[in-house]
Symmetry: D2
């Protein structure tokens, strides 16, 4: 069975229906729908096409219409969930922004890194300026293979060996199945980033297994694959296309040629990716520097 | 009959088939396919949903894969066709770049204006610096209604009354039906720009009729509407959906909700719109300043 | 006497000392120093090289170090002073952002326009969405002569004739004499914009006299001229150079060659101009839409 | 003696005059003045404040006025000199772009990296696409300490250990003493990058000594320090200020306060840094891929 192309575990789970080894909880908080999908055994992991682990999805359609309170609610919840996933301790936190800053829907990671309050150099060089409730944070946007000639893991591994962070937060643009979730959903996960995720790029896994450090992934879907909306349309209209094979073959036929590299995205993706990066960075900043007010964070960022 | 949503007259014509009042010519030149569609009576205009006039489409798939020679061939042909459409004389030429520079696929117009060699101030203030084969050119990107609160025509009309240009070239992003034509096609037309064209924005007509000056439109498709690819997929798979009504209703059903404002675009639209603006501006610069070499043009642009 | 090169009336006045026809008031409010210079007769206007009118300068060094409260205080005071200068009534307000958006220190005007809440199209097309305490606002960044081939006044005059705004707010980058005032000072004035102001560009006057509508100028110094700091250094070190003529001639000598087009600016001018545009736009938005909260304004801006 | 603040060895040498251990050659080629300064012993190195090594400076004032042929001449000469400095062999070349991409005059390095043709992933994954006369190249812009919390050397060392490049090319913005050299001069050097170079940022040395790999530095001055022009003005006008101590103390006095972080730069630095990055990247691309034409390089870059 070919899985539908989505980076959201909750969408994979909803498409597959309930199965052993998967637990789902859902609740609402401050106008945000929170869905927690726990994939607890390998069989379920294979069926869903997602590594084992916990996936927390925050959904709030109002974010897409620029609702300020919705954005604050999202980043507050993100901060809470992040703080829960990051292991206690005093070591450094490394934030990695994946993606290509010159490809708008893929720029979430680099843009979130730009908005992340970085403090490691203060801890090391100006320890007197460190305040209560701050943590040592560094951040890097290593770029994409086609632009650097370097695998993300080549850049990251050396840094991890040198810096020994206590945990890694890796931020990336995702693809959703449902267009309504684009730019209105944040997914957190303790399973890291797997090859083949993201907007059509293969990279090597960035996970606790590969790096020896807990890796928390934070992503926001910025696109839907063109293939997905065609396939969903076919599926919806006729039981004739209910078999996976038929669907796949027709979708492939319809999309052959230049359609393959097309993405479906909101017209205003430039401003939406900017706002999503803001939400993610605010969530990270609050989770990591609980002792600083928003005003202090903005001031320190310059 | 609801027309398919495309700003390319050649696509409307191909979908409708041959009809009285429409003449089509096609030829190849320097690796570029040139299609000329002339809509010569009102009935054909209504059936095709395009104003009467001549539409010249330049197609070259290699442009999409960054082929330098293909880009040069496209801009040379564009320069030739533009030079043919611009009335002879010595008055000024005004270039208008429509669209929103902060919405990537809609930024073609403002970006082309940025790359257009503007000379009107040299003609007026430094006439000694005017060389043989230069024309007086001004250029403006008036912005979009949602950002300025001003209709394009409100800004343009005052300028036209003051400046009395000999002709207007108006540049805009278009929507195509076929995704293969995105960023690989240029359409020129002597019919100006009509309300409802462009990437989903209504504006008042910018035409010879409304402005009293010949208006030549130059556009490059940067998107396909999501509705278009779904509808095309349905149409292709089954005669069951061959009636327009059935197709429309199913498409509407499939796309209801947030799908409506989604666009389909290549992942690398940021660089493609930049290259398309370069092709358009080079075509304009060569057409208007036949006496200047490319190197001179680049130097004068700073 | 050659006046020192500054666009701040308070700096001209301080250099010249007290004179008949000029009144100066200064007070502090919310950590901001407010200086009001009124130039009340022609002779004083000529001596100071500034048109007659009222100039209000808001100074707050903390803005330069990204202090969030300082920025809020500045934009609140700006809103109050602006509200005082704008004539009562119900007609439209037009905001004009001067300068070149592709030249960082000159981009204040276009950037402030991007951040201004524009509502004229809502008043005209969606009157039901107009809330208490909103005004009809349009905004345009007409670009600079070298890029458009058009004088700002050519673009503006046509629009003013068509739209008949009740008042115009014109935003521009300024040059200061004292580098400490760069990016930490806002000047408002009821005298409009005169030729020769701004970062080295001549333009025709945008004033009540030329347009028949009150014109309020808002500017933030983003640069100091290189000549200014050299001249100030010379002046400071020796009475030998106390005569204007000697100073001018030595300054000219020192600066001859490529120095003439150099500007002095903070290293981080990219982020400072962004923040200054934010302060100016917040001031304008609050002054014009007193009935909207900050959150509502941000939401409506998208 | 406090050395004048310049990153150009030829300016340090000219200020100091001839001395033992320093050899200077100068010639003209294709309209470009080439100056080679060889610092051959430690004493001279200390006096000039520059590490021992060979410094080649290419100067061409026409580049500043956007002369296309001048740019081509500069990048051709840069390619030749680079090819001479890079050790023969078949191993990989790593290009490192220093500086902050969000601070315009400091963005040369990241911008040059964006324009560098990267091929390492082709050599590794698509070896059939490798053509005669291509080399394996990777490139990274590691960001600055204040934004990443990471020393450049922390990021680079891990990569060098993993990738074992044959040589490193490091690109950075420089500060000149003479404003005429800003954006019109390229300096190459086999001595790497030393702490305290660049636009006011300390970083650890990136040299053959520290990395075990030949390091070739390429830089373009984008700024002059404000202190420099004041000091030069003082020096020029009076023998009274001929002693270093007097000059230093007066300069310090004049500049005290906010002047310290000010830079002197051409108004149009945004476009000049873009063009300088283009010259540097073209020079690198030609030096490393002698078998590819310009058109092939542009096409492969997308």
């Amino acid at each position: 069975m070919r899985q539908i192309r989505t980076d959201l575990a909750m969408e994979s789970q909803q498409a597959a229906g309930s199965m052993p080894g998967v637990h789902v909880k859902q609740w609402a908080e401050s106008g945000v729908t929170v869905t927690e999908v726990s994939i607890e055994d390998l069989k379920a992991s294979v069926r869903l096409g997602k590594p084992m682990g916990k996936y927390i999805t925050l959904e709030c359609p109002q974010v897409r219409s620029h609702d300020v309170n919705a954005r604050i609610a999202m980043s507050n919840l993100l901060a809470e969930e992040l703080a829960r996933l990051i292991p206690e301790g005093t070591g450094e936190i490394m934030v990695i922004g994946l993606g290509n800053r010159n490809v708008t829907p893929d720029a979430l990671g680099p843009m979130a890194v730009d908005k992340t309050l970085v403090t490691r150099h203060i801890f090391r060089e100006l320890p007197d300026h460190v305040e209560e409730g701050m943590q040592s944070v560094c951040a890097i946007a290593p770029g994409v293979l086609g632009v650097t000639g370097l695998e993300t893991m080549e850049t990251v591994t050396g840094l991890v060996e040198r810096i020994h962070p206590r945990a890694i937060i890796v931020v990336d643009s995702l693809a959703a199945r449902a267009s309504a979730r684009v730019a209105s959903t944040v997914q957190l996960s303790d399973s890291g980033i797997q090859p083949g995720s993201g907007v059509g790029n293969l990279r090597r896994a960035i996970t606790e297994e590969s790096l020896g450090v807990p890796v928390i992934a934070v992503g926001v879907p910025m696109v839907v694959y063109a293939a997905t909306i065609v396939r969903d349309a076919l599926e919806e209209i006729s039981s004739e296309y209910s078999s996976e094979e038929a669907l796949d073959s027709i979708t492939d036929h319809v999309l052959e040629g230049s359609m393959g590299d097309m993405i479906v995205t909101p017209r205003e993706v430039d401003s939406l990716v900017e706002e999503a990066a803001q939400i993610v960075a605010m969530g990270i900043n609050r989770a990591l520097h609980a002792g600083l007010s928003d005003a202090q964070i903005r001031e320190m960022m310059g």
